[in-house]
C-alpha cells in the first residue's frame, strides 16, 4: 500500500473531528473521499499534509510509519496538496510559480536557475498532458489552467501522492472533464490520487474506490461499479435523501420580473451584461445557467438595485425599478439570496437574531419610531430558526460561527420570512452539503408554489436542470438560449454554456 492512514483521531475543543478514520490508497489508484461539509475531510487532509498532528493513529507510507511535524516533511515524503483556493503569486509566470520554494539554484551565490526549472516544467507538462505554457503569467490564465499549474507544482516537487481538495468547485463542466482526463493520466503513470469532493457523480466517474466520511467517521468504502448516487448520498448523510427536487409542473401567472434589453457595466467599466431580455412569471422557476463570470452576477445586482443599469429597463410587479435603490426593490417583495453569503448575505460578527432582521429592522414589529423591539426580534428569530431548521446553539450565537449550510438557512429564513413576489437566488447551494442542498431547494420550490416568481442563478448543471422550470443560459453577457424544462438536458444546456450549438 503506497499510503495508509490508520485509526486517525483528532479532537478539537468540543468536537471529535476525526474518529478512528482509516483509509488507504495504492500506487496508481484514485481514491475518492466523499463527505459533507464538516464530515472531517479537511481535518484528515490537514493531518496528511503535516498542518495538524493527529491525537492518535498512524500515517504509513509504503508500510513505514511516518509522522509529519510540518508541511515540509509531508512534501518530502511525496505528498502534494492542491487546495481549493489556489496559492499562486499572480504576477509570476508559470515557471516561477511552479518552482517557488523549490527553486533550482545555480552557482555559489544562489541565483535562480531559470533554465533548468523551465525545462522541467515543459517536460512535466508534456508528460502528463497538462498543456501549460511555462512563460504565461498566472494572472492571465483561466481558472482551469491555474489549477493545472497547482498540479504541476506538486509534480515538480516529485509528489506521487496527490491530494485534490474539491478541485471541480471552480471549474466549468468542460474543464472538469479535462481535469478527470489528467487525473486518469496521472494514475496510469503510477501516482496515487486522493480526490476530495462532495459531488456524487464526480467520484463515481473518476474514482477507483470511494471512502465516504460522515461526522468524523468512515461511513463506508465502496467500489464505483454497482454504486449509485443514491447509495452514496445515503451513506454521506446517514438517511434517505431525495436527490431529485420534488416538484409538480409550474402553474404560471402574470409576468413578475421583466428585464428588457438591459446593459450593465462591471466594476472596471466594461460591459458585463450586453442586452439581456427575460420575463419571469409568477409560479415558475427560471434557472440562469452559465459559467462563472459571464455577466450573471452583474445582472442579478442590477435587478436588485445594487448596480446601476446602463441602458434598458427592469420592471418588477408593474413598477419600473430600473433606478430603484436596493431598499425600494426589497420593499416591493423581492427576496435576494446573494451569491457570496459570507460577504454580502450575512454579518458574521453579529448574532443570528441580528442577522435575521438585516433587511426588515426598519419596519414593525422589529422597530418602532427608530428604536428596536428586542422582544419581537427574539421571537421572530426564534420562530425562523425553528421553522427553517437552523442548527445554532442559540439566536445569540454569532452567525459567522455557524456552518455554511446553517448560514445559508439564516439567509433564506430572513429572505423568505416576509411576503415575497420575486425570489432572486444566486448560487444558493454553493459549497453546501447534500442535506442542506435538498432543504434549500425544497424551500425555493415552496416559494414558487406559493406564487412567487423565482430566478435562480447557478453554475451547477445538476441544480439548473433539477430546479428550473425553464433554463436560460448566459454566455459573454448575453442570453444564448432558453430551454424549456423537458428539453433541458446535460447535453443541451452544457453545450450552450460552453458556447457551442
Amino acid at each position: 500500500m503506497r499510503l495508509e492512514l490508520r485509526d486517525i483521531t483528532k479532537r478539537f475543543p468540543g468536537v471529535l473531528a476525526n474518529d478512528r478514520i482509516s483509509i488507504s490508497a495504492d500506487r496508481g489508484e484514485v481514491l475518492g473521499l466523499l463527505g459533507e461539509n464538516g464530515a472531517g475531510k479537511s481535518t484528515l487532509m490537514n493531518i496528511l499534509s503535516g498542518l495538524y498532528r493527529p491525537d492518535s493513529g498512524e500515517i504509513l507510507i509504503d508500510g513505514t510509519p511516518r509522522s509529519f511535524s510540518d508541511p515540509r516533511q509531508a512534501i518530502d515524503a511525496g505528498i502534494g496538496m492542491v487546495h481549493q483556493h489556489f496559492e499562486l503569486v499572480p504576477v509570476f509566470d508559470v515557471t516561477e510559480a511552479v518552482s517557488l520554494g523549490a527553486e533550482s539554484v545555480s552557482s555559489l551565490v544562489g541565483t535562480f536557475d531559470r533554465k533548468t526549472a523551465r525545462a522541467r516544467v515543459v517536460e512535466l507538462s508534456r508528460q502528463y498532458n497538462l498543456d501549460v505554457s511555462p512563460d504565461a503569467k498566472i494572472e492571465d490564465l483561466p481558472v482551469g489552467v491555474r489549477q493545472r499549474v497547482e498540479i504541476l507544482k506538486a509534480l515538480y516537487r516529485k509528489s506521487d501522492i496527490l491530494v485534490l481538495d474539491e478541485p471541480s468547485a471552480v471549474l466549468t463542466p468542460t474543464e472538469t472533464e479535462e481535469l478527470f482526463g489528467i487525473i486518469r493520466g496521472l494514475a496510469a503513470a503510477g501516482t496515487t490520487v486522493i480526490f476530495i469532493t462532495h459531488k456524487l457523480n464526480e467520484v463515481l466517474e473518476v474514482a477507483d474506490r470511494i471512502t465516504v466520511l460522515r461526522r468524523g467517521r468512515v461511513a463506508g468504502t465502496v467500489e464505483p461499479e454497482g454504486a449509485t448516487r443514491q447509495v452514496l448520498a445515503n451513506l454521506m448523510v446517514g438517511r434517505d435523501v431525495k436527490l431529485t427536487v420534488a416538484k409538480g409542473p409550474a402553474t404560471r401567472g402574470d409576468v413578475v420580473l421583466s428585464v428588457r434589453d438591459v446593459h450593465v457595466l462591471d466594476d472596471r467599466g466594461h460591459a458585463a451584461v450586453k442586452g439581456v431580455s427575460l420575463d419571469i412569471r409568477a409560479g415558475e422557476i427560471v434557472a440562469l445557467a452559465g459559467v462563472q463570470g459571464n455577466g450573471q452576477t452583474e445582472l442579478v445586482e442590477a435587478i436588485v438595485g445594487l448596480r446601476p443599469v446602463d441602458s434598458g429597463e427592469i420592471v418588477i410587479d408593474g413598477h419600473n425599478t430600473t433606478a430603484f435603490s436596493p431598499r425600494r426593490v426589497s420593499d416591493l417583495g423581492v427576496a435576494h439570496v446573494p451569491e457570496d453569503r459570507m460577504r454580502d448575505g450575512l454579518i458574521g460578527a453579529m448574532t443570528v437574531a441580528e442577522n435575521f432582521i438585516l433587511d426588515t429592522y426598519h419596519r414593525e414589529p422589529y422597530s418602532r419610531h427608530g428604536s428596536l423591539n428586542a422582544k419581537a426580534i427574539a421571537e421572530g428569530a426564534a420562530t425562523a430558526v425553528q421553522h427553517y431548521d437552523v442548527r445554532t446553539p442559540s439566536i445569540e450565537t454569532f452567525a459567522g460561527s455557524l456552518s455554511g449550510g446553517n448560514q445559508q438557512k439564516v439567509v433564506v429564513a430572513r429572505e423568505f420570512s416576509r411576503p415575497v413576489k420575486l425570489v432572486v437566488a444566486a448560487q444558493p447551494t454553493r459549497g453546501l452539503d447534500v442535506g442542506s442542498i435538498e432543504y434549500i431547494h425544497r424551500r425555493i420550490v415552496e416559494q414558487r408554489d406559493a406564487g412567487a416568481a423565482v430566478l435562480i442563478v447557478s453554475t451547477e448543471l445538476e441544480e439548473v436542470l433539477s430546479v428550473g422550470d425553464r433554463v436560460a443560459v448566459m454566455l459573454g453577457g448575453r442570453i444564448v438560449g432558453i430551454v424549456e424544462g423537458p428539453d433541458a438536458t446535460r447535453e443541451t444546456v452544457g453545450i450552450l454554456m460552453g458556447g457551442g450549438g
Binding site: 475543543p13 473531528a17 495538524y52 458574521g348 441580528e354 428604536s371 428596536l372 449550510g405
Partner: protein, 401 residues
C-alpha cells in the same frame, strides 16, 4: 464552564493585561533603582529587600494618590470639617476629573470604530469643541449664566460634530481616507485655535500668550460637591450619561443597528438596503459631537480658560482606550477611570519615591500592547491553549440538515 469563560473573555483579557503591565512595570522600577542596584555587591539581601520595598512604596503611593489616604479619610470621618473632607476626597475626585475627558473621547472613538471608520481626529474635534464653547461663552458673557452654559455647550457639540462631519462626508462622497483627513484636520483645528486666541475678542486682557479670557469669571459648570479645592463637576455625570446613551443608541435603535451593521460588513449592509455613505457620515458626526461635548465640559468645568493646551492628548489616548475597552461604553468608563487614576496617582508616586511620572506612560503603553496582542496574554496565562489557529471547530458541528 467553557461557556462562562467565553462570556467573561472580553473583560478577562483587559484585566489580565492591566495586571501584567503592573508586573512588568515593577521590573522597570527595579532596574532603574540605581541606589539599591549599587548596593547589590556589598549587601545583596538588603538591596533586594530595599528594591522590593521600593516597588511596594511606589504602587501604594499611586493608590493613595488616586483614591485617597486612609489616614486622612479616617480623620475626615472623625471630624467632618469641610476642609478635612476636601483633603480626604480630593484624590478620588481628581481621578474622576481626569477620567471625564477620556470618557467623552473614548466614546467618540468607539462610536466611529463601531461604524467602521477610524476617527483619528477626536483630538481635533475635542479641541475645536472646547474652542466653539469658548467663543459662544465670551460672546454671551453678559447674559445670565444658565443661558451661557446651554448655548456654549451646544456650540461645543456643533463645532465638534461639524469637524467630524467633514472627513465623514469626504469619505462617503469621494473615498478620501478618514485616517489621512482626520489627522490633517487635527493640525487645522490646532491652528484655528491658536489663530482665534490671538484675537482681542478672545484673548485674556494684558496677556500676550494665546489664552482666552477667564471663563470661570462668568460661566461655570457647577461642582457636584461645593468644597474648597474640589474640581469635580457635573461634566463627569454627563460623561456617564453619555456612556449610557451611546450604549442605548448602538444596541437599541435602528440607526445604531445600521451603524454597527455597516461597520462590521459594508457589503452586507448595502445588500440589505442600507445606505453605506449615510452610516459613515453618521458615525463621524456623532463621534465629533461627543468629542466636542467633551471639549466644552473640559473648558467650562475643569480648567479656568481656553488655551491650546486644553487637551493633553486625550483624543489620542482615547484610541488606545477604546481598544482596551473593546468599544464597549461600560468598558470605556472603566478604562477611563483606570487611566485617570494612573494620571492622578502618578503625581504622588513621583513625590514620594522619585520614580518619574514616565512609568505611568510605560504602564499605559504596556496595557495597550497586551490588549492589542491577546495571544500573548493567552500564552502567558496558559488558558485556551487547545484552540489552534486555523482550526474551526464550529464548522464541524451539527451540519446535516
Amino acid at each position: 464552564m467553557r461557556r462562562i469563560g467565553r462570556a467573561l473573555e472580553p473583560a478577562l483579557i483587559p484585566i489580565l493585561a492591566v495586571i501584567t503591565a503592573f508586573i512588568v512595570g515593577s521590573v522597570f522600577i527595579l532596574v532603574t533603582d540605581f541606589q539599591n542596584l549599587g548596593k547589590l555587591g556589598t549587601d545583596p539581601v538588603g538591596a533586594i529587600m530595599g528594591a522590593l520595598g521600593n516597588i511596594g512604596t511606589a504602587y501604594y503611593a499611586m493608590l493613595v494618590g488616586a483614591l485617597g489616604d486612609p489616614a486622612r479619610i479616617g480623620a475626615a470621618l472623625a471630624d467632618p470639617t469641610p476642609r478635612a473632607i476636601a483633603t480626604a476626597i480630593r484624590p478620588i475626585t481628581e481621578t474622576l476629573v481626569a477620567a471625564t475627558p477620556l470618557i467623552f473621547c473614548g466614546l467618540a472613538v468607539a462610536i466611529s470604530f463601531r461604524g467602521g471608520v477610524f476617527n483619528i481626529g477626536v483630538e481635533g474635534q475635542f479641541v475645536l469643541g472646547a474652542f466653539g464653547a469658548t467663543v459662544a461663552a465670551i460672546a454671551l458673557k453678559d447674559q445670565p449664566m444658565p443661558l451661557i452654559l446651554l448655548v456654549s455647550v451646544a456650540a461645543g457639540i456643533l463645532t465638534g460634530a461639524a469637524w467630524g462631519f467633514i472627513p465623514g462626508f469626504l469619505k462617503a462622497r469621494t473615498g478620501a481616507h478618514e485616517v489621512i483627513t482626520t489627522i490633517m484636520l487635527n493640525y487645522v483645528a490646532a491652528q484655528i485655535v491658536l489663530f482665534g486666541l490671538r484675537s482681542d475678542f478672545l484673548r485674556k486682557e494684558g496677556s500676550s500668550d494665546p489664552i482666552s479670557k477667564v471663563l470661570s469669571d462668568f460661566v461655570r459648570i457647577p461642582p457636584i460637591v461645593d468644597l474648597p479645592a474640589i474640581r469635580l463637576h457635573w461634566g463627569f455625570v454627563v460623561a456617564l450619561l453619555m456612556a449610557a446613551a451611546v450604549s442605548w443608541f448602538l444596541f437599541k435603535t435602528t440607526k445604531g443597528y445600521e451603524l454597527r451593521a455597516a461597520g462590521f460588513n459594508l457589503h452586507a449592509a448595502r445588500y440589505a438596503g442600507m445606505s453605506a455613505s449615510g452610516a459613515i457620515i453618521l458615525a463621524m458626526t456623532l463621534s465629533g459631537g461627543l468629542a466636542g461635548l467633551g471639549g466644552s465640559m473640559e473648558v467650562l468645568g475643569t480648567v479656568p480658560q481656553m488655551s491650546n493646551g486644553i487637551s493633553s492628548g486625550y483624543g489620542f489616548n482615547a484610541i488606545a482606550l477604546a481598544l482596551l475597552a473593546g468599544n464597549r461604553p461600560a468598558g470605556i468608563v472603566a478604562a477611563s477611570l483606570l487611566f485617570g487614576a494612573l494620571r492622578t496617582g502618578g503625581g504622588l508616586m513621583q513625590v514620594k519615591t522619585g520614580i518619574p511620572l514616565d512609568l505611568l506612560f510605560f504602564i499605559q503603553a504596556l496595557v495597550i500592547m497586551f490588549v492589542a496582542a491577546p495571544g500573548l496574554i493567552r500564552v502567558l496565562y496558559r488558558f485556551d491553549r487547545t484552540r489552534m489557529p486555523g482550526a474551526d471547530p464550529a464548522a464541524l458541528e451539527g451540519d446535516a440538515a
